[in-house]
């Protein structure tokens, strides 16, 4: 299969952040504050997933970066260029696949790609367009009018349009919305290949599975705020924690000093003991825990283990009151 040709050159002296967002806020006409002071650096060459429920402000943020919505406050640079003062250079580096399917019904697939490439200031390059179309399994349809294509193919056409001018940064706004499983996996594959060729990719999603599958880093947005941005593996480690809940025979006032140093927590009524451990480490410590409980004469009548999912963490992050967040 033809790989999408290398899209970006990365001179060593370029800064790590390809998109830098500083204090960006957006209040829509009518007074609704959709974004509150977003600060974010998107690293060159990474796949960043912006995760958040509907209405969180993901599309608003992407639209501001791409020049479709005006920010109310703050500044953004893309590939080192201010997106307002130096919009030509900034926008030339960016490709956008918006959330909604918007296509020119009467155009053919190939002509709409030529249009996109030209619009972004690039001279014709038929071989590049052919590569993209082949990669997205659209080459056979190149002369078809877009209105004759299925929804999934239209989405691929939009991706192809966004790639036509060889952007360094690709924004995919809810790429899986209304897309069947097969196309979703094809798309994930394509995103990975793009990343290998040096393209930075930012995708928004409200599917945790998608963020987990694709991203190097995950940013969580809720109610216009960026709650956290974290390396996926770090986040997974936090998420990968398991808990063992022991219902005690006799209530305790406090955890015996001899058990200090273990990840133990006593419930307020003193009837249950909760042990937290990392599923990803070799040694869970359960065997030694049980042995040491025995040594201290602590008996339990029941035990339960539970796993916190990404879902739970996400929900707890999103619902935590303001001051509580790390």
């Amino acid at each position: 299969m033809a790989a999408i040709p290398s899209l970006a050159s990365h001179p060593a002296e370029t800064p790590a952040a390809i998109v830098s967002i500083r204090g960006v806020g957006k209040t829509y006409k009518g007074g609704f504050e959709a974004l509150k002071q977003i600060n974010l650096d998107i690293r060159r060459g990474e796949i960043l997933a912006l995760l958040g429920p509907n209405g969180a402000g993901k599309t608003t943020l992407i639209s501001i970066i791409c020049g479709i919505v005006n920010a109310s406050t703050g500044t953004i640079t893309a590939d080192g260029h201010d997106i307002v003062r130096d919009y030509r250079a900034a926008r030339a580096a960016i490709g956008l696949v918006p959330q909604e399917l918007h296509t020119d019904a009467f155009e053919s697939v190939l002509s709409t790609l030529r249009f996109s490439r030209g619009l972004f200031g690039k001279p014709p390059h038929p071989a590049h367009l052919e590569n993209i179309l082949r990669e997205l399994s659209l080459w056979d349809k190149r002369n078809n009018k877009i209105m004759t294509l299925s929804g999934g193919m239209k989405r691929r056409v939009m991706i192809a349009k966004a790639l036509a001018h060889e952007p360094k940064v690709l924004f995919l706004d809810e790429p899986s919305a209304g897309v069947d499983v097969e196309l979703r996996h094809d798309m994930w594959q394509m995103v990975r290949r793009l990343r290998e060729s040096g393209t930075t990719i930012i995708l928004t999603t409200h599917y945790i599975e998608e963020a987990e599958e694709m991203a190097d880093r995950i940013g969580v947005i809720n109610k216009g705020e960026l709650i956290l941005v974290e390396d996926k593996h770090t986040l997974m480690r936090k998420l990968g924690k398991k808990q063992l809940t022991l219902s005690l025979q006799q209530t305790m006032r406090e955890i015996p000093p001899g058990l200090a140093g273990l990840q133990l927590e006593l419930s307020t009524d003193g009837a249950t003991l909760v042990y937290t451990f990392d599923t990803q480490s070799e040694e869970t410590g359960i065997a030694s825990l049980l042995r040491r409980l025995g040594e201290h004469g602590i008996d339990f009548k029941d035990l339960q283990s539970s796993e916190s999912s990404l879902e739970e963490i996400f929900v707890s992050l999103v619902h935590k009151p303001k001051g509580d967040r790390a």
Partner: protein, 253 residues
């Protein structure tokens, strides 16, 4: 200058024109032919000459202007309204193109089409009446200037409109009456003195008068005034488009 960008928009718009050739070229030519049959041949044969020109030849410049204004406006307004309506405008807004490049692409294409249409009507007219063009260069100049100016005006209407009704209301309610009352079918000297004065507030009078001068050498108002008024209107339209793109009015939330 993003030349590739201008070219892309221009090509896209011209392709749209040729896709809808029947609607965009054939129908204005047909309706103008009907005007020539009714006014030129049937009624015109009963009318005397106006300013030494046969009635059939006298109405040619006015008829061309009638089509030119209507088509320039509807074509250019539709051209920019469609992407807004279909949502494909996101691409234009996120592209490295300046407002003037967008204008050159869209308005240039609409104006090109109007100029082609004007020439086509001129050729069609040959089949019905004899006419002379005294100042062909001026004639062509007016054709281009009017096409550009009113395509630009249509572009503004397309940016402003947020439904199909708004898109059609200005051409229908403003431009058509102004053109009919602008001396397409008569010389304003034929009006009573009071209405002659009122008519001078109609900008279309200057267009038709100037255009007719390039055919016959006779005009209701001075040619310089005609050209100046049209250029002035062009500059006002340009300023409005510049402001719309700068402020993002109706384009960027």
């Amino acid at each position: 200058m993003n030349i590739h960008g201008i070219r892309a928009i221009y090509r896209f718009e011209m392709a749209r024109t040729f896709r809808t050739l029947m609607q965009s070229i054939a129908s204005p030519v047909l309706s103008t032919s009907l005007y020539f049959i009714v006014f030129g041949a049937a009624i015109g044969s009963r009318m005397g000459d106006i300013d030494g020109t046969s009635y059939g030849a006298f109405i040619i410049p006015g008829l061309i202007m009638l089509s030119l204004l209507g088509e320039s406006i509807s074509n250019a307004s539709f051209g920019i309204y469609m992407p807004k309506w279909a949502g494909t405008i996101y691409e234009l807004l996120s592209a490295p193109v300046s407002w003037i490049e967008v204008v050159i692409g869209y308005v240039g294409a609409a104006a090109s089409k109007s100029v082609m249409l004007g020439l086509l009507i001129l050729i069609t007219a040959r089949f019905f009446v004899d006419y002379e063009i005294l100042h062909p260069l001026w004639m062509f100049g007016f054709l281009v200037l009017t096409s550009v100016t009113f395509s630009l005006f249509g572009f503004i209407i397309g940016l402003w409109a947020d439904d199909f009704q708004k898109l059609q209301v200005i051409p229908l309610m403003v431009i058509t009456p102004l053109t009919f009352l602008g001396g397409a079918f008569y010389s304003i000297n034929m009006l009573p003195p009071f209405w002659q004065k009122v008519t001078l507030f109609n900008p279309v009078v200057y267009l038709i008068s100037g255009f007719r001068w390039s055919f016959t050498g006779r005009a209701d108002v001075h040619i310089a005034v005609s050209a100046g008024m049209t250029l002035g209107f062009l500059l006002i339209c340009l300023a409005i488009v510049w402001w719309i793109f700068r402020s993002g009015w109706k384009l960027r939330a």
